[in-house]
């Protein structure tokens, strides 16, 4: 048996399984809102994940176009980076594909002794996971950068205020009062 063929034939089942496993990482399980609601605007998280894992799946089976893989991973990881997950859990969804395949194709694999094929395919998934790590780091950096920019803007604004205030004479002592160029963040 060609494992690749089996994986592409059973695409619907494996993808469905993978999706449910990912949804299970959310506080309410797979049959909940995120997994059930199909409207892309009412449920952007569920929609994005279900759309992008299909792209990933197809690419894994074909030529692993790194640009396409990166774009799809980015869509998912961008979401998971701001949700309440530690790094390991934010990217764990990639490995859940292994689980989905083993659960869906377990018998086929052992019947046909297709372990070599499986290992080869799993190596591709590992590559995907490494890529995911890069993207996760980028997303987190972006978040910090955005936060930093905001702090910077606030500080600049505060300095601008302070400068104008200092230019004036006889302004009452403002130290113990709010305002007068205090940074908005403590």
């Amino acid at each position: 048996m060609d494992l690749g063929q089996a994986i592409s034939q059973k695409k619907a089942a494996i993808l469905g399984k993978w999706f449910r496993l990912i949804m299970d990482t959310y506080p309410l399980d797979a049959s909940g809102f995120l997994g059930r609601e199909k409207d892309r605007f009412a449920n952007p998280v569920g929609y994005t994940i279900s759309r992008e894992i299909e792209v990933l799946y197809d690419e894994l089976l074909q030529d692993m176009d790194s640009e396409k893989l990166a774009a799809s991973l980015d869509s998912i990881i961008r979401i998971r980076s701001v949700q309440d997950y530690p790094p390991s859990e934010a990217v764990s969804f990639v490995f859940l594909l292994k689980k989905a395949i083993r659960e869906e194709l377990g018998d086929d694999i052992s019947d046909n002794q297709a372990y070599a094929d499986l290992l080869a395919f799993e190596a591709r998934i590992d590559k995907l996971a490494l890529l995911a790590l890069d993207i996760y780091t980028k997303c987190r950096e972006k978040i910090h950068q955005i936060r930093l920019n905001e702090v910077k803007t606030e500080t600049e604004r505060a300095f601008r205020l302070l400068e104008i205030t200092r230019r004036m004479h006889d302004v009452p002592d403002a130290e113990e009062h709010p305002g007068d160029g205090e940074n908005l963040s403590p």
């Binding site: 309410l28 399980d29 049959s31 909940g32 809102f33 059930r36 609601e37 199909k38 409207d39 892309r40 605007f41 009412a42 929609y47 759309r51 004036m168 004479h169 006889d170 302004v171 009452p172």
Partner: protein, 330 residues
């Protein structure tokens, strides 16, 4: 778990009624005294709760606007969803109460992917809720014939329409089937959908099971157990004229039916079932969106500490003078 608690509570109630009537023969208690008491609790409790709400003031004017405000004459305003007159509010409330407008406000579905079937959970909830409440209303209406002699033609007409399927299934009304389906759906969604299961309390299931119990027994006493309807009518007419007679041989099932209904009545004022009367008082729905045109008065308004212009000028006088802005006191 929560559903189980509620299920056992309702089962226990049924057992109480069964043994009370069949075992102890307390027919009068279950047929007359408890219903009277329940009705009294219902009426007094309902009035108490509504009065309590009504006595709490509405300090601020907070309608939720779901459409264009009335502003410039050439901009078409939404007179119902953003009501600009009392008539608008009446229409909005009517749509809310009779048609469950807000529940219907479902997200329009964008079919991105033709293969996917879109499950419009909220529309189903709207349908389930609407079918349940309207069926309940018609069933209550049908029951009122028990208290009337002779039965008005209009009532017979409604009954005949509702019973149009009786050629196929004897003694069953459309609303019986509808309410059973609706209640079953309302129960199942609490069990099946994780987020609804998460928020459901025992009391949510209790109300559903109680209603299911009343309805199922109601259908059964009519169909399978063929209660003596004439006897029931004698009882009902007697109660209605405060001259109750308990005829023999009505059968315990009927007593359980009426007992559960009594519990439901007595439970009503203390529970979320008060949403019925409550909606009439909901400030986000029953106010006109005219708060800039007509002043809304807060009855408990009190003066607060403010930072006056004079205090402000005193603090910043030099700065104000420095940039050449006018001062009140030089």
């Amino acid at each position: 778990m929560n559903a189980l608690y509620a299920f056992f509570a309702v089962a226990l109630l049924m057992l109480v009624a069964f043994f009370g009537v069949w075992g102890l023969g307390w027919n009068t208690l279950f047929a007359v005294m408890i219903p009277y008491a329940a009705l009294a609790i219902f009426i007094i409790g309902l009035i108490y709760r509504v009065v309590k709400w009504a006595r709490a003031p509405v300090p601020f004017h907070i309608p939720t606007t779901c459409g264009q405000q009335k502003s410039l004459p050439w901009i078409k305003s939404d007179r119902i969803e953003s009501p600009s007159s009392t008539m608008g509010v009446v229409a909005r409330m009517a749509m809310e109460i009779l048609l469950f407008r807000s529940l219907f406000r479902n997200d329009k579905v964008q079919l991105e992917d033709k293969k996917r079937v879109t499950f419009q959970g909220n529309r189903v909830l709207w349908l389930g809720g609407l079918v349940f409440h309207w069926s309940l209303l018609i069933i209550l209406f049908r029951h009122s014939r028990l208290f009337m002699q002779p039965v008005p033609d209009f009532m017979i007409f409604v009954r005949d329409i509702d019973g149009i399927l009786q050629g196929l299934i004897p003694a069953v009304f459309i609303t019986d089937i509808a309410i059973l389906m609706a209640l079953t759906y309302l129960f199942l969604r609490r069990v099946v959908f994780p987020q609804v299961r998460y928020i459901s309390l025992p009391s949510d299931y209790f109300a559903l099971f109680l209603l299911l119990g009343v309805v199922i027994l109601g259908v059964l006493v009519k169909t399978a157990w063929k209660v003596d309807i004439e006897g029931v009518k004698v009882l009902a007419m007697g109660m209605f004229t405060f001259n109750p007679v308990v005829p023999e041989g009505i059968g315990p099932a009927f007593y359980i039916h009426i007992f559960l209904a009594s519990v439901l009545l007595a439970y009503f004022p203390f529970s979320k079932l008060m949403h019925g009367p409550g909606i009439f008082l909901s400030p986000t729905r029953n106010l006109i969106n005219n708060s800039r045109a007509v002043r809304h008065i807060n009855p408990w308004d009190y003066p607060v500490k403010v930072h006056t212009y004079e205090e402000w000028e005193d603090e910043f006088r030099e700065a104000i003078r420095g940039v050449g802005l006018p001062l009140e006191k030089e």
